[in-house]
């Protein structure tokens, strides 16, 4: 049986790991992992664990009720645009921050700020979220 790349990614989150792929041809990271290098299209890739460390560049929030019922209990949640240390851009839920305009404005003035993964299990799925370091 073939093991889905997607399933391996979510399973690894459950162990606190961020799994991606690194291109054997051009060295670029593809995160989250797919079947081909995001940069050059090569399928010659190897699994790699990312540090998870990154910088939050922008912080806002999503809607409530949310489109995806998985998040009904936590919406409206803070959502951020992040650059990981490996140079990969990710957008994800940010835990532990309030979404009132004053807080969001203070982040707008403070960014970039360091973030680290804060993986959440939400209704049976491991979800990559981040928190301010």
């Amino acid at each position: 049986m073939a093991e889905s790349i997607i399933k391996q990614y979510y399973d690894a989150l459950g162990q606190g790991k961020l799994l991606g792929k690194k291109c054997k041809k051009c060295g670029a990271y593809t995160f989250p992992p797919t079947t081909a290098c995001k940069k050059c299209g090569s399928s010659e890739q190897e699994w790699v664990e990312l540090s998870g460390k990154g910088k939050l560049l922008f912080l806002s929030h999503g809607m409530a009720p949310p489109p995806n019922p998985r998040f009904a209990e936590i919406a409206p949640y803070a959502y951020g645009h992040i650059c990981l240390d490996e140079g990969v851009f990710v957008q994800a839920i940010i835990t532990g921050v309030s979404i009132d305009p004053d807080t969001l404005k203070s982040y707008y003035e403070r960014v970039p700020v360091d973030v680290v993964p804060d993986i959440q299990e939400i209704k049976g799925l491991n979800v990559l979220a981040f928190k301010v370091a």
């Binding site: 560049l57 806002s60 809607m63 851009f89 979404i99 305009p101």
Partner: protein, 424 residues
């Protein structure tokens, strides 16, 4: 050297329903999707002076399957239009659908396979068939509509991990714009207020727009003499701080249609040439450290300008996808039609109005004209063709534009640029 069509291709006719709600809006109320699509298609064929039997192929687009239950529109819509036994296909490029359809039609024509192609886009974002009724519909909650619309977005990682359109396609871009050009958040707010005022003015002048109330009239209705006070009130909440409800899309039901063909033998009095186009696709994230620039737009504009052999200074009328007002401005600046960092200032100075020197989205755009996913790009083309021909009534641009550029972002994400040219 840019790629070229091997033959000239023209838009011979355009049609568009009013955008509204199939359960409420007088022009649409009670119609089935088949009838709504037929309204647009028959208007386009009449405009092109083309008989249904002259059509060689029907390309029909629809995005949100749960609201249409029409995965194979080609045979059903062809049947309702009297165009049986011709070629047909059902296709989907989300909010770029109809304009991508025009490019597919153009390639079919320039290659010599077809002479006349009918492109149709139809969509309901506000209701779905009631149980399995052939004609009764029932309203859908907004979050349900977004759940289905987000089927267009990364299903392996983005959507399952909390993706939301409003931070990603509004808030981050707005903050990025302020940071890049040194604008304060207050200046951003004023600028977006002015963009909204402009769009709503255009909507108030367009009998086909879903919102025909100006922002000032809405403010008054809600008890505010000062529209700015209304803008900053709880009646215009943040959908994703700092972006407010009146800076985003107004979901709608609607249909649009375009007859594409050759100039030779065309009965249509004012064909408009499809001079060039560019298409570029990309999954999330759509940008890196600068959320005001999407690489797909750089690509699609470059390809379209090369094929059409034009430069930004040649453009007389521009529509950019303005599902998010700030992204609409970012793309207009990327296109070269507006100077970098000046878009909001241009809006405040009235320069983006139909009677300004840089007119944009004179039909009212996604916010005032409304957004019916697969039909919307066709509504943008409809407006551009009407403007070029001098048929835009009260909101006519003067002198009539000759070169019009239409940009759309199809979720998620297909950047599509058409260059249209015509007039005298």
């Amino acid at each position: 050297m840019g790629r070229k069509l091997k033959d000239s291709v023209f838009i011979l006719g355009v049609g568009c329903t009013r955008f509204g709600n199939l359960l409420e809006t007088p022009e649409l109320k009670g119609l089935s999707l088949h009838e709504m699509a037929a309204q647009a298609a028959q208007e386009a064929m009449a405009d092109a002076k083309v008989d249904p039997q002259e059509i060689d192929a029907v390309f029909v687009g629809n995005v949100t399957y749960p609201t249409s239950l029409l995965p194979a529109t080609y045979s059903q819509i062809a049947d309702w239009l009297g165009i049986q036994l011709k070629a047909g296909v059902h296709f989907d490029a989300a909010c770029s659908t109809t304009n991508v359809g025009i490019t597919m039609a153009a390639m079919g024509i320039a290659s010599g396979v077809y002479d006349k192609v009918l492109v149709v886009g139809l969509e309901s974002t506000l209701s779905q068939p009631k149980t399995l009724s052939p004609y009764e519909r029932t309203t859908i909650p907004t979050e349900e509509m977004w759940l289905w619309t987000d089927h267009c977005v990364g299903q392996s990682y983005s959507v399952p991990q909390g993706y939301d359109i409003f931070p990603t396609y509004n808030a981050f871009n707005a903050m990025g714009y302020c940071r890049k050009y040194g604008l304060s958040l207050d200046e951003l707010e004023h600028g977006l207020f002015e963009v909204c005022r402009t769009r709503r003015l255009h909507g108030s002048m367009n009998p086909k727009a879903i919102r025909q109330e100006t922002l000032e009239q809405e403010a008054k209705r809600m008890g505010f003499d000062d529209p700015w006070k209304f803008w900053t009130s709880r009646f215009n909440p943040h959908v994703a701080w700092p972006s407010r409800l009146n800076s985003v899309v107004t979901p709608a039901d609607g249909a649009s249609a375009i007859v594409v063909g050759r100039r030779e033998g065309a009965a249509s009095s004012q064909p408009v040439e499809l001079q060039g186009f560019g298409i570029s696709v990309m999954d999330l994230p759509w940008y890196d450290e600068d959320p005001t620039v999407m690489p797909i737009d750089q690509e699609s504009f470059k390809k379209a300008y090369e094929m059409a052999d034009i430069k930004a200074k040649d453009i007389d009328y521009l529509h950019t996808h303005d599902c998010s007002h700030i992204m609409g401005i970012c793309v207009a600046e990327l296109s070269g039609y507006l100077p970098q960092g000046q878009g909001l200032k241009y809006a405040e100075e009235g320069r983006l109005r139909f009677d300004g020197d840089r007119p944009m989205s004179t039909h009212g755009g996604r916010h005032a004209f409304g957004h019916a996913w697969a039909a919307s790009a066709g509504s943008d083309t409809y407006e551009a063709v009407k403007q070029i021909r001098g048929q835009a009534d009260a909101r006519q641009i003067k002198p009539f534009p000759k070169t019009a550029v239409i940009h759309t972002h199809g979720y998620a994400m297909i950047s599509t640029v058409l260059v249209l040219n015509g007039g005298n």
